[in-house]
């Protein structure tokens, strides 16, 4: 069974710092004009965003030797995913989106001004990440109450976990019907500000490195 989770925009407080990061500022603070613009774009974005996610828990089989993870509905050949899920017997699979109206808002801003376009796009990225964090926390709390621990969430495109698996995840979650999230022929999710990921569930806590530190793309402009 696929479960649904949704939040309205006032429950997802977008972090300005994250927006700065997506705009390429790294650890530097932008000037007043830019911060004012970011605030304005956040406010506007919040009028259109409606966060939705669908998720479920599946049993998995992690084959360390063959670097193969069997989710039942898909078998993934990936070194990095095997590493992430080693020792897990089940996993959450989820898809989340900021919604079609937010997407339309980004398209509109981008069509009208490249400046507002990039800022709103960065706001969208920060917002969907934050929404995923909230969902992640909720799932972690549920698991903790059952004595289980979660691994850092892992998305297609991380390491050698190929984007080619994206359609299978979306189809399995029936995401088009459940939350209005679909995928183009070229594997681009629509709405673009969407995330899919798997989150390993294990009986023991493992100190897993996550985020930028773990990523092999060391020349990334968004790296912190």
């Amino acid at each position: 069974m696929i479960y649904l989770y949704s939040l309205c925009s006032d429950k997802v407080a977008i972090s300005e710092k994250e927006v700065y990061r997506y705009l390429g500022y790294g650890k530097i603070y932008p000037n007043d004009e830019v911060t004012a613009l970011i605030n304005e774009c956040v406010k506007e974005f919040n009028k259109f965003s409606a966060y939705k996610a669908c998720y479920t828990e599946v049993d998995i089989d992690v084959d360390d030797k063959r670097e193969l993870v069997d989710f039942g509905f898909m078998k993934v050949n990936s070194h990095s995913l095997t590493l992430n899920l080693r020792g897990c017997v089940s996993s959450y699979v989820f898809a989340a989106t900021t919604g079609a109206m937010a997407e339309r808002h980004i398209i509109k801003q981008n069509r009208l001004s490249a400046l507002r376009g990039i800022v709103t796009d960065a706001v969208g990225s920060a917002s969907i990440e934050h929404f995923c964090n909230i969902l992640n926390k909720k799932l972690a709390d549920t698991s903790a109450s059952n004595g289980k621990f979660l691994r850092p969430r892992f998305s297609c495109g991380y390491g050698d976990f190929s984007l080619e698996y994206q359609p299978q995840i979306l189809s399995f979650l029936d995401s088009s019907r459940k939350i209005g999230l679909s995928i183009t022929d070229n594997l681009m999710m629509t709405p673009v500000k969407s995330v899919t990921a798997v989150i390993g569930i294990s009986g023991t806590p493992v100190n897993c490195r996550s985020g930028c530190v773990e990523c092999e793309k060391t020349d990334c402009q968004y790296r912190v």
């Binding site: 069974m1 696929i2 479960y3 649904l4 705009l23 390429g24 500022y25 530097i28 932008p30 000037n31 004009e33 830019v34 613009l37 970011i38 409606a50 479920t56 599946v58 039942g72 509905f73 919604g99 079609a100 109206m101 997407e103 339309r104 398209i107 509109k108 981008n110 069509r111 009208l112 001004s113 490249a114 400046l115 376009g117 990039i118 800022v119 796009d121 984007l163 299978q168 189809s171 399995f172 088009s176 019907r177 209005g180 679909s182 995928i183 183009t184 022929d185 070229n186 594997l187 681009m188 629509t190 709405p191 673009v192």
Partner: protein, 792 residues
């Protein structure tokens, strides 16, 4: 009895969920339910029968996801589904079968990559197979996008004569995922002529309850309500829906009492839910369905009702008398049209007129582009304004909503051409009081033509509510009695309950201070009952009349909108005064340079205007604008300036350039070079490309922007036709890099002298080399630098 007759007078019942029942019988998550039509037909038959036994009148075939994108054996899947349904029906009376059509599962452009016409084709394939077999109606269901819904209904109309029922998915705020509200869907679907409409899925009956009256009170066709059994949640490791059959059926009684005629269920509901609903509602006498005499047009988010308050239709997207606009059309420059659309919306118009007819351009192609682009960024309903019937049809077809269509007239041939389009695509028509004998010079004569048009429309099945008569305003400079005739006609039409519209600006043609005459005429026409005016919203005199009229006729609570309007008038006066009194600080040595570096758009424009009084335009460009851009550009390259600041400065310098250009007597601006930019085929994300465009334009290059998702052929054709030697291509995804490669290959064949610069999030030098690009630009500034070298 035909199902379309029964639903008008009785409560009719749909079945409930299929997916949940199949899961109980072993369907695995991710497994396509339609495959069971072939693998386990007996299970599907048994479920259908159990619904008929529970009392349902209409069962939905197990074809929700049956489309050619998901199934190679589509024919087999659909044929077996319908066979199963007919087998299940044996022995039951009042039993009907609906060919079930769900969404395609891909988003339509501009949100996704699916073309509207392709969506129509996909639905058509399913409908052709299904409607050739034994089914009683087509149910288009679980639609969460108005545009996709329109594609499905058109496919049904073009490929079958079966009744069409449509249910869409609303959220708790009564909006579709892509924004449409109930009234908007009513306008669209009644315009398209469907037989019943309503809502299903996503919500339980409790959350749907408040949406049902919104539909019943505005719709003239039966309303369908198929809720979920609430929301799924996990209970002790078991999945349960939070509404049981008793509670569900209790609320369905309230829903039936509020006027729904067709009841059923969606996810999580079972034969028990349907049975209990029937038991509790079967003796209810359904509310009679009333015809609503309301004139609606709609966009993809909302409907505009014409009748109760005056409606402003912005006239500015029309090339007549606008040389800049004509130039924009010739160059296929959509930005001009979009900016006009947004600006008029900000001024307060409720509908946008779209006229893109020029003798030297292909109007069909142009109006398709204009409608597509406008409805990507503006959420106002559009008035499709053309005399070209082919262009009219294409625009109506592609339009995401129910358009206003300008126009039809009293000539037999014209009515024959236009009415079938309204019948097919839906729309409200502006009807001009002119016929084979010309424009009558009496109110009586014009009124008679109006009546003739309305009568003829009726013969095509188009109701009077979808005809708005334009009794034609003609200038008083050639006939001083002409306003009297027009106003008298408006009055007579109004008294007969016929809605009216006027292109008010014509009244003053040839006179000095036209606004004085036009706005007074507008006020007089409103007083005579005018419903809509095609007008210039930039005219303060016109807006004054509009807001005052509403305030004076008790159409503006607490005069709030009038007061709002006045506050903008005050601001304008003050800001004009501040410019005159020279509050801008130009004492600084390089004020313009500083304004551009800081990215202050308004200031940059104002300072430019001030400085031009003493400095020559070219000096200003050389000493202020270019050096400022260079400072910011170099800062960006050294990573002391970041992208938002770079673009802020770019916008400020553009504002400054615009003022400079306007001040130059001859318009011989020097273009440094012409460059094509495009985001490659399959890629629908074009932020990067837009950044490059802004900067290139800033540095004096002319950019031919082909947009996103651009086929290699179009890039090559444009390069050849327009004699272009530099092309910039952008890609966001690794999956679209092959399209980039294909574009480069084709360019090498068709336009070997052309150089190609590539960029985008996933591109690297290695990729660029691999696909044979001439230059890899890491960021927007690098493209500018390359262009400077190239054109040096």
């Amino acid at each position: 009895m035909k199902i379309t007759d029964i639903i008008k007078n009785e409560i009719v019942y749909f079945d409930g969920g299929m997916g949940t029942l199949l899961q109980e019988r072993g369907l695995k998550a991710g497994e396509l339910p339609e495959t069971w039509n072939i693998l386990h037909p007996e299970v599907i038959t048994e479920i259908h029968r159990s619904y008929y036994e529970a009392g349902a009148n209409i069962i939905k075939t197990n074809t929700f996801g049956a489309n050619c994108l998901k199934f190679d054996n589509l024919d087999e899947i659909i044929t077996s589904a319908i066979k199963i349904a007919n087998k299940a029906k044996e022995g039951f009376t009042n039993a009907y079968i609906a060919l079930d059509i769900g969404p395609i599962g891909k988003m339509l452009k501009p949100l996704g990559d699916l073309d509207f016409e392709r969506a129509v084709e996909i639905f058509a394939e399913t409908i052709k197979i299904g409607s050739a077999l034994d089914v009683d109606l087509i149910l288009i269901e679980t639609m969460n996008d108005s545009y996709e819904t329109k594609a499905a209904v058109l496919a049904a109309k073009e490929n079958s004569s079966l009744p069409i029922f449509v249910t869409t998915v609303y959220d708790e705020n009564a909006k579709l995922m892509t924004g449409a509200d109930p009234k908007c869907m009513i306008a669209l679907l009644e315009g398209l002529g469907v037989d019943a409409m309503g809502l299903n899925c996503s919500l339980g009956p409790e959350q749907m309850k408040h949406i049902v009256p919104m539909l019943v009170e505005a719709a003239s066709i039966p309303v369908i309500v198929n809720p979920n059994a609430g929301l799924p949640r996990s209970e002790n490791g078991r999945t349960v829906y939070d509404v049981d059959a008793d509670k569900f059926s209790d609320i369905m009684v309230e829903i039936a009492e509020s006027g729904a005629h067709i009841l059923g269920g969606c996810c999580g509901t079972t034969p028990e839910f349907i049975h209990k609903t029937i038991e509790k509602t079967k003796d209810l006498k359904p509310k009679p369905i009333e015809f609503k005499d309301t004139t609606l047009v709609s966009s993809y988010t909302h409907a505009v009702e014409i009748g109760s308050s005056p409606i402003l239709i912005g006239e500015r997207i029309n090339p007549t008398g606008k040389s800049k606009f004509k130039e924009a059309l010739r160059q296929n420059n959509m930005d001009y049209i979009l900016n006009e659309g947004i600006a008029q919306q900000e001024k307060g118009v409720q509908i946008l007129d779209v006229n893109v007819g020029l003798p030297e351009i292909d109007e069909v192609e142009m109006i398709r582009n204009a409608v597509f682009e406008l409805q990507s960024v503006v959420d106002l309903p559009l008035q499709i304004d053309t005399v070209d019937i082919a262009a009219m049809e294409q625009a109506m077809r592609l339009y995401n909503g129910k358009p206003l269509v300008n126009s039809v007239n009293g000539k037999i041939k014209n009515m024959k051409d236009v009415f079938p389009l309204i019948k097919k695509y839906g729309g409200t028509l502006i009807a001009l009081t002119i016929d084979e004998d010309g424009i009558p010079d009496t109110a009586e004569g014009r009124f008679r033509i109006a009546e003739k048009i309305i009568q003829t429309a009726k013969e095509y099945g188009i109701d009077k509510r979808d005809i708005i008569v334009d009794p034609l305003a003609m200038t008083i400079s050639s006939d001083t009695n002409s306003a009297n005739i027009t106003l008298e006609t408006v009055k007579r039409l109004h008294e007969k309950g016929i809605k009216t519209s006027l292109g008010v600006s014509n009244i003053s043609f040839g006179l000095p201070n036209r606004e004085f005459v036009t706005s007074t005429f507008f006020a007089m026409a409103l007083q005579n009952g005018l419903n809509c005016a095609i007008m210039n919203p930039y005219s303060q005199e016109m807006m004054k009349v509009y807001y005052c009229y509403n305030a004076l006729t008790n159409r503006d609570d607490n005069c709030a909108r009038y007061i709002d309007f006045c506050s903008t008038v005050v601001t304008q006066t003050v800001s004009a005064a501040s410019n005159v009194s020279g509050k801008i600080d130009t004492s600084d040595d390089e004020p313009l340079k500083k304004a551009i570096i800081k990215g202050l758009k308004e200031q940059a424009a104002a300072i430019t205007a001030e400085m031009l009084k003493t400095v020559s335009p070219l000096d200003l460009i050389d000493t202020q604008i270019i050096p400022a851009l260079d400072i910011v550009g170099k800062g960006f390259e050294k990573k002391t300036v970041f992208l938002p600041q770079l673009l802020m400065s770019a916008e400020a310098s553009k504002a400054s350039f615009d003022v400079v250009k306007a001040s130059m007597i001859s318009n011989n601006e020097s273009v440094k070079g012409r460059i094509i930019l495009a985001t490659v085929k399959g890629d629908i994300h074009d932020i990067g490309k837009n950044i490059v465009k802004v900067l290139l334009e800033n540095y004096g290059y002319e950019v031919i922007d082909l947009g996103k998702d651009v086929a290699p052929e179009l890039v090559c054709e444009t390069a050849v036709e327009q004699d272009i030697d530099l092309v910039g291509l952008s890609a966001l995804m690794t999956t679209t890099v092959p399209s980039m490669e294909a574009t480069i290959k084709l360019l090498r064949q068709k336009r070997p002298r052309c150089r190609v610069v590539v960029g985008g999030a996933v591109l690297t030098q290695e990729y660029a080399d691999m696909i044979g690009a001439d230059f890899y630009a890491r960021d927007a500034m690098e493209t500018v630098r390359y262009a400077e070298e190239f054109f040096a």
